[in-house]
């Protein structure tokens, strides 16, 4: 069905690129569509598992660009802090989406009104704007997918699974490691910096850390920890 959709779209607008989305598919689906989590539910638990969902699916289905609905599709209206953390994580995903259907008819965008606590997410929304332009025009997008970090992924996954349970750290593109904040009130978090690369730069501060170390990164409400690996050559 996804292939038929893509082919129909290509036939209808032959001079333009095809863009379709689907929430499920077998290996090879990446040739026809981008995927996302489907209709998720608003909760901290769901945020945690949505982060784990992307990297875990990628090697199985060759999904290139998983994404989740930031803030959750159904369920309660997200509390402001939860929405901020979801948006921050979504800012580094290859497809940022925020749509919802709430039984009471509420709109998540009302929670994100200027002056509210979710104003802290605006800096990350601007990151989306700054990334998306380059992603759109890049044949080799800078933030391709929540794919694993080349040579370091194995170490990372093993340690993450042992220490944290479901991985709350994922890779955005081949070089950027993003550490999700998935608990209310959390203002710092431990981040393991995998071996296999020369070292890691803090994306926000520019500070340098050796590979194989574990750092405690600040995670105020206006920042999600992220590091960029420096590969040895």
């Amino acid at each position: 069905m996804t292939r038929a959709t893509a082919e129909a779209q290509a036939a209808h607008r032959s001079g333009e690129r095809v863009y379709t989305v689907t929430r499920a598919g077998p290996p090879g689906i990446q040739r026809y569509a981008q995927t996302w989590s489907g209709d998720n539910t608003t909760s901290w638990h769901m945020l945690r598992w949505n982060i784990a969902h992307g990297p875990d699916d990628e090697p199985v289905r060759h999904v290139q660009s998983p994404a989740t609905t930031s803030g959750g599709f159904s369920g309660p209206v997200p509390e402001p802090e939860l929405l901020v953390r979801w948006v921050q994580n979504g800012a580094f995903s290859p497809r940022f989406i925020m749509n919802s259907w709430k039984a009471g008819g509420e709109d998540e965008h009302a929670v994100a009104a200027p002056g509210s606590a979710t104003g802290d997410s605006r800096g990350h929304v601007s990151i989306i704007a700054r990334f998306r332009t380059c992603t759109r025009c890049s044949g080799a997008p800078p933030l391709r997918a929540s794919q694993r970090c080349g040579r370091c992924s194995t170490n990372f996954e093993r340690r993450s699974a042992r220490v944290c349970g479901p991985p709350t750290t994922s890779c955005s593109g081949p070089y950027l490691l993003v550490a999700g904040v998935v608990e209310p009130g959390q203002r710092e978090r431990s981040v393991y910096l995998p071996r296999g690369v020369e070292g890691w730069y803090d994306f926000h501060t520019g500070g340098y850390h050796p590979a194989g170390s574990e750092v405690v990164a600040d995670a105020p409400l206006d920042r999600i920890p992220a590091v960029r690996c420096r590969q040895a050559r």
Partner: protein, 106 residues
């Protein structure tokens, strides 16, 4: 290197003319190359050469950085300004060389 833009305005998602390159150099001696690729993002003309590429290279101990050295393809460069940002901890001397490099600040 992570290519971004200077603009944070959604109204210019499709005609943003700035590029902001965040460079994360090696601590020691190294050579690195990065290719910035551009096309119109909408049409299929990229299959027929409707692209352009710029190459950024750093050499040795990051003493020289060639910011924009080559292009190919049929698409005119849709960028008017390219800025480069280094980590705050970077203190090594740096020289920018390339077409149109006019100003830099350490």
């Amino acid at each position: 290197m992570i290519p971004m833009t200077r603009g944070e305005d959604y109204r210019h998602l499709h005609d943003e003319t700035s590029r902001h390159l965040r460079v994360f150099p090696a601590k020691g001696s190294s050579r690195a190359t990065f290719t910035l690729y551009e096309d119109d993002g909408i049409s299929m003309r990229y299959r027929e050469g409707g692209t352009c590429r710029g190459r950024a290279r750093s050499r040795d101990v990051f003493e020289r950085y060639r910011a924009w050295s080559a292009r190919d393809g049929a698409l005119a460069l849709p960028v008017t300004t390219i800025t480069v940002e280094l980590p705050v901890s970077e203190r090594r001397p740096l020289t920018l060389r390339g077409e149109g490099v006019r100003w830099w600040q350490r």
